[in-house]
C-alpha cells in the first residue's frame, strides 16, 4: 500500500477545497439558509406538523442529504475530471499506485468535504429550528455512507465525462430531480398511492428516509431497507470503478 501517495492525493484535493472555500462551503450554507427561509418559515408556517414534527424540523435531514448528494458528486467528478482536462492525469497514471489507492485519495477527499459540509448545514439548521437527533451514530453512519457512495458515483461521472457539459448533465438532469422527488421536503406518505409506488423506485427516497429516521424515528421505508439500498448502490459504484480501471476506459486508451 502506497500510503504516501494516497496522502498526497488526499491533501492535494483538500487544498483545492480550502482554496475555493467560498464556492465549496459558504455557498451551500447560504442556499440551505434560503431553503429554511422559504420552505421552513414562509411555507412551513402554513403547514401543520408532519408525523408529529414541525415542518421546519422535518425538512432538515432532507436538506442535508440534498447538499451532501450534490456536493459529493460535484467534488468527486470535478476532482478526477480536472486532471483529465488539464492533462496532469499523466502523473497519477504513471505513479506506482494502485487503482484502489487512486480512488481512496480522490473519493476520500470528496467524501470528507461533503461530510464536513453536511455537519455545517446541520449546525446552520440548528440556528433556525430546534433539533434533536435520536440516533447520532446511525445519523453519522448514513452521512458517511451517502457521502462515500455518491463520491464514488461522482468519480464515475468524472471519468465518463469528456466535456464540461457531460460533467454537469447527470447532476443537473438526474440527481437534482431525484433528490427533490426523493422526499426532501415531504413524506412520501403524503403522495397518492400510485405516485407513492413510483417514488419507491427512486433510490434517494431510501437515503433520506433512513437519514430522517436517525433524527426523528420516522421513516417512509424500513431502516434495514434504507441501509440495504444504499449499500447496494455503493457496491454498484465500486463494481463500475473496478471495471473502468480494469479496461482503462477513458483513461488509458
Amino acid at each position: 500500500m502506497n500510503y504516501r501517495a494516497v496522502r498526497a492525493i488526499y491533501l492535494f484535493e483538500m487544498a483545492r477545497t480550502w482554496r475555493t472555500l467560498l464556492q465549496s462551503i459558504v455557498s451551500p450554507v447560504v442556499s440551505t439558509s434560503l431553503y429554511f427561509v422559504v420552505f421552513g418559515a414562509a411555507i412551513g408556517s402554513r403547514i401543520s406538523q408532519v408525523e408529529g414534527v414541525s415542518y421546519g424540523t422535518f425538512i432538515v435531514p432532507g436538506l442535508i442529504m440534498l447538499s451532501v448528494l450534490t456536493q459529493s458528486i460535484a467534488n468527486a467528478s470535478f476532482g478526477i475530471y480536472f486532471p483529465k482536462f488539464t492533462g496532469t492525469i499523466y502523473e497519477i497514471l504513471s505513479a506506482p499506485i494502485s487503482y484502489f489507492e487512486i480512488v481512496l485519495g480522490y473519493v476520500g477527499a470528496a467524501a470528507t468535504k461533503s461530510i464536513i459540509l453536511g455537519l455545517i448545514i446541520l449546525a446552520t439548521a440548528g440556528l433556525f429550528v430546534p433539533l434533536h437527533i435520536h440516533h447520532p451514530v446511525w445519523m453519522l453512519t448514513f452521512l458517511v455512507l451517502t457521502a462515500v457512495t455518491f463520491s464514488l458515483f461522482g468519480f464515475v461521472i468524472g471519468i465518463w465525462a469528456d466535456g464540461f457539459e457531460k460533467l454537469q448533465m447527470i447532476p443537473m438532469l438526474v440527481v437534482t430531480p431525484l433528490t427533490f422527488l426523493g422526499g426532501s421536503f415531504y413524506s412520501i406518505d403524503m403522495l397518492p398511492p400510485t405516485w407513492r409506488t413510483v417514488a419507491l423506485l427512486n433510490p434517494v427516497v431510501y437515503l433520506i428516509s433512513g437519514f430522517r429516521w436517525s433524527f426523528y424515528e420516522i421513516a417512509d421505508v424500513s431502516v434495514a431497507v434504507s441501509i440495504g439500498m444504499t449499500t447496494a448502490f455503493l457496491v454498484i459504484c465500486l463494481a463500475v470503478i473496478w471495471w473502468i480501471f480494469r479496461t482503462g476506459y477513458r483513461l488509458k486508451n
Partner: protein, 307 residues
C-alpha cells in the same frame, strides 16, 4: 552494459483501429542517453506512454529494471521519471507544492533538501512560492522536469524536452541532462531537433509508422551512413559534362559553376583521386573545393523515406 528497459514484441492498436506501434523490440542500456527520433505520429509518445503506464499495450511485454510493467508495476514505475511533451501543470499550485506532491505520489518520504537541490539545479529556487500559472513556458518546462526528478528516478523520459524552448535555455537543459547522466540516470529523449540527438545521445533509435527502423550507436551510425560531398567551384563555367566523366554521376549545378560529387566514406575507394585526374585530362579547371559530411538530419530523412 545491461538493459534497464527491455521492450519485446510491443504493439498498440487504438480503439479507432489505428496501429500506433507494430511489434516493437528495443533495449535501453543502463546509464546511456538514448534518443528516439521520428516524424510526427511515428509512435514515439505512444511507446513512452506504454512504458510509463499511461497507456495499455495491446500486445507484448516491457521490463523496466527487470520488472514487468504490468504485473510488477509498482517497482517498475518507481524507477521512472517522465517529462511529457505537453506542459500539463496544476496552474494554481506553487512550484514547491507541486514538486513535493510528485514525490509523495511516488511513495517517497518528504525530503525538502532534495527538492531544494532540484529547484536550485533547474534555476527555479527563487520561484518556489510562485503559482505555476505565473511562470513562463520555459520555467513550466523546468517545473515538469523537477517533478519528474522529485522521486530520484533511475530512468528519465524526456518527450520533446526542448520544443519551444529558446537556444540558451536548451543549452542549459542539455547541461542538466549531462549532469544527470553522470549521476547514473538513464535518459531517453525524443526530439524533433536532430541537432539535439547529435549533440547529446550515445545511441539513436529511429521510429517511423510504428516500427523501429534502426537502433545504432550514434558514432557508428554517422560513420556507417555518413556520406561526404565534394563540391568543386569551376573556373571557367562548364556548359555540359564530357562523356568521359559520365560514370562518376556528377551533378553540374549553378549554371555550370559548381560540380558536385557524393562519395561514401565507408567504401575502400572514394574515387576522388581518379576523378581529379580525369577532370584534369578533360581540361576542366577549378579554383576552389570543399567537402561536407552529411548530418544526422540527412541520415534521418533518408531512413524515413526508405521505410
Amino acid at each position: 552494459m545491461s538493459s534497464i528497459i527491455s521492450v519485446a514484441n510491443l504493439s498498440k492498436t487504438y480503439g479507432s483501429g489505428f496501429k500506433a506501434l507494430k511489434n516493437v523490440n528495443l533495449d535501453i542500456k543502463r546509464g546511456e542517453i538514448f534518443a528516439l527520433l521520428g516524424p510526427n505520429g511515428a509512435g514515439k509518445t505512444t511507446l513512452i506512454s506504454i512504458i510509463c503506464g499511461i497507456a495499455n499495450p495491446s500486445e507484448g511485454k516491457v521490463l523496466v529494471g527487470g520488472e514487468d510493467i504490468q504485473t510488477s508495476y509498482r517497482k517498475a514505475r518507481s524507477l521512472i521519471g517522465l517529462v511529457p511533451q505537453e506542459l500539463h501543470t496544476d496552474a494554481f499550485e506553487s512550484v514547491w507544492a507541486t514538486v513535493s506532491f510528485s514525490r509523495g505520489l511516488f511513495g517517497k518520504p518528504k525530503n525538502p533538501a532534495h527538492i531544494e537541490k532540484i529547484l536550485k539545479d533547474l534555476s527555479l529556487w527563487d520561484k518556489k512560492d510562485n503559482k505555476i500559472i505565473t511562470l513562463s513556458g520555459g520555467m513550466k518546462r523546468r517545473v515538469m522536469i523537477a517533478k519528474a526528478l522529485s522521486h530520484e528516478p533511475q530512468i528519465l523520459f524526456l518527450d520533446e524536452p526542448t520544443a519551444g524552448v529558446d537556444v540558451e535555455l536548451r543549452k542549459g537543459m542539455w547541461e542538466v541532462v549531462r549532469t544527470l547522466q553522470q549521476s547514473g540516470v538513464t535518459i531517453i529523449l525524443t526530439t524533433h531537433y536532430i541537432e539535439e540527438a547529435e549533440e547529446m545521445a550515445d545511441r539513436i533509435g529511429v521510429i517511423n509508422k510504428g516500427e523501429i527502423v534502426l537502433v545504432e550507436d550514434k558514432a557508428t551510425l554517422m560513420q556507417k551512413l555518413g556520406k561526404k560531398r565534394l563540391t568543386l567551384h569551376l573556373q571557367p563555367t562548364l556548359a555540359a559534362l564530357p562523356e568521359s566523366l559520365a560514370h562518376y554521376e556528377l551533378d553540374l549545378c549553378d549554371s555550370g559553376a559548381t560540380l558536385v560529387y557524393d562519395y561514401d566514406t565507408k567504401g575502400e575507394r572514394t574515387g576522388i583521386t581518379s576523378l581529379l585526374s580525369d577532370l584534369r585530362t578533360a581540361g576542366i579547371r577549378f579554383n576552389d573545393l570543399d567537402t561536407t559530411q552529411s548530418s544526422l538530419e540527412d541520415i534521418f530523412v533518408d531512413l524515413v523515406r526508405a521505410s
